[in-house]
Amino acid sequence: MRELMTGNEAIARGAFENGVTVASGYPGTPSTEILENFCRYQGVYAEWAPNEKVALEVGIGASMAGARALVTMKHVGVNVAADPLLTAAYTGVNGGLVIISADDPGMHSSQNEQDNRNYARFARIPMLEPSDSAEARDMMGLALEISEEFDIPVMLRITTRVAHSQSFVDLKEQVTPSLREYKKDTRKWLMVPAFGRMRRASLGERMERLSRYSGKTPVNFILPGDKKVGVITSGVSYQYLRDTLPGASVLKLGMTYPLPAGLIRQFAAGVEKLFVVEELEPYIEDFVRGLGLNAKGKEFFPETGELGAAPVRRGFIAAGVIPEEASAPVPQYQDMPAVPVRPPVLCAGCPHRGVFYALRKLKLVVTGDIGCYTLGGLAPLEGMDSCVCMGASIGMSHGIDMAAPGLRGRTVAVIGDSTFLHSGITGLIDVVYNGGNTTVLILDNSTTAMTGHQDNPATGKTLMGKDAPVIDLEGLVKSLGVVRVRTVDPLDLSQLEEAIKEEVTASGPSVIIARKPCVLLRRQTGSPVTVNEEACTGCKTCLRLSCPAISVNDKKCSVDPVSCIGCGLCPQVCKFGALVAAKGGGAGA
């Protein structure tokens, strides 16, 4: 059967077909749907781990026990999992172990666009790069085979356009999963220095064998063509190249670590001009030049952002390969009106909105974190000063507290429930242990909202849909030694403001848990707010809430009754009583 699948669906399918029985990961765009699809297959186990490090450790354990295992994460998640990753290369595997790194060139939904191909080289683990869904499914199977044959974890590196583009996959039957026998072998699995040195030597031998394999694997192949121009490429860049230079000779690399030196030399010898077309860093190009070959790459093709057929074409025009007149110019339209941007915004009724309104009003320095609530930093809410990585808010706030007495009592860390469990807890331990004064606002909306509402240890459900114990956030932070802990309704502005004012000035660490489920989970259809036009002075204070349901036309406020769910926030900011909550609505509705 032939099915149109995204790359993520195809990876889940490939894992199922090839007998993976254990999968773990942490949600992160563009990787999230892999486990959401995999968990639906019969007879498999899949879970959301609290973070990527734990997820990989679960995968290593499952592999050690003899199962085929899959671990998924976005590119920045690999930073979190890097510690076990670099040593898992030493231990190797029992059952096949595959790590998905889903990179996000162009930063569609990420804080950076690091090129994780460097991780394969850094950790010395083989890496495969599919360029469409069919390859993603096939390479999932191949990765498991390589992992078991060479006793090493394998990275399957995808990018947003592979993860989220659909193309055809011919479905195959599932091979019956089998569990390899577990035998105690401390020289392989117990990485103390003496055994680590032995495994380091073994890793060198394994990489040598893998280098030879890379030269003969069918996923590294030459597509013969015009001998004047030869192009080495991998991943989705291959697709852009085929649209741009259909006649060129191509060396398509499906396995990009270790790179096949012999095959590259052979290919280079058969063409007049050699190019490398790759997204992000000159990863392949540096290797090819290191072989002493004169390859052109980043001189003509961009090193940042997503590639596409157009940038590839522009590069080949600049390199004199495609004549300029052969490509149709992009139409230019004269006298176009300015098109306003349409940035993502917090939804109408979002419980985060009140928090950022209050923080801005109180003129606090706010160290932020990763989630929907990062949108609270954008105009007109502008209630956040920084966002660096998962969990950074708390450590940064403590750093500010220790560095600048003038900012003490004026700084708050803001972090979501899932992000707090991911990597906020250790930051809070640091604050308590070292006698800091940081105030932490945990925005508990009872889900991992930004990535599409995944469950987490605070929601009471697992990825497999089973009931789970709900983490008691108040109890957790108290047990860490935080004495000042309180829970507020983020849509009750006066209660919220009072709590923040008290806690930022109090000495010692404080935690305020702002608890209200995500509006998209509540599916609330409360009565919309109405406008008393006579009372409205057109002051536009309500617009600072950045609510998509509120606008001001002809100096009068108006509320869109379709998108307003009656969360009750805006009546609290209107000094003139012009915004009227429906009876029975109001704060906390």
Binding site: R2, H108, H164, S167, G308, P344, C347, C372
Partner: protein, 190 residues
């Protein structure tokens, strides 16, 4: 054959995904190779959304480049204007005559341009302006506006009507099928 490249643009929540699923289903039943690309994650929260559908004998890139789309299906008119440069010379624009104000406009920080559909008509010879919401409401459910637009699109593609009817039956939940069939027909006959 050259590929058929269709760009579906709109605002999160307008039903662009169902429309692209119907289109891909039709393409599959025609035996085309297909690539569909969309962006998830942060872009969904009320931001601009775009789905790219490419169909043909063999399709490589999942992306439609500027100046090459055969048809742009704009579920919101400002989004039609935003993506206009992606339309190939002589291509068709189908624009839903609906305005959804971005937050910077609501906040008075930016201006929603006047006469967007007129601006498009002045630049695109085949610019079909459709009041899809009103048509869908007449059919019994405003949520079928996306399928009205699919009907308008169907008329412009070299694919027989019965293929579209099959795709509707396969992709639309049974209890909404009747109203969506009506919505499709109204669009198809425009």
């Amino acid at each position: 054959m050259r590929s058929i490249d269709v760009l579906l643009v709109g605002v999160g929540g307008q039903g662009t995904i169902l429309a692209s699923r119907i289109l891909a289903h039709v393409g599959q039943s025609m035996g085309y190779d297909i690539k569909v690309s969309e962006i998830h994650g942060m872009a969904q929260r009320g931001g601009s959304v775009v789905t790219q559908v490419r169909m043909g004998e063999k399709v490589f890139s999942p992306l439609i480049e500027e100046g090459t789309a055969d048809i742009i299906l704009a579920f919101e008119k400002l989004e039609g204007l935003r993506w206009l440069s992606y339309l190939k010379p002589g291509g068709s624009m189908i624009v839903n005559d609906q305005a959804i104000y971005p937050v910077p406009v609501l906040a008075g920080l930016a201006v929603y341009p006047e006469d967007v559909t007129g601006c498009l008509s002045a630049r695109v010879k085949d610019n079909a302006v459709v009041d899809a919401l009103a048509i869908a409401r007449d059919c019994g459910n405003p949520k079928a506006a996306n399928v009205v637009l699919v009907g308008v699109l169907a008329r412009r593609l070299p694919i027989p009507e019965e293929k579209w009817q099959e795709a509707l039956a396969a992709r639309v939940p049974a209890k909404f099928l009747e109203v969506n069939r009506a919505a499709f027909s109204k669009g198809y006959k425009l």
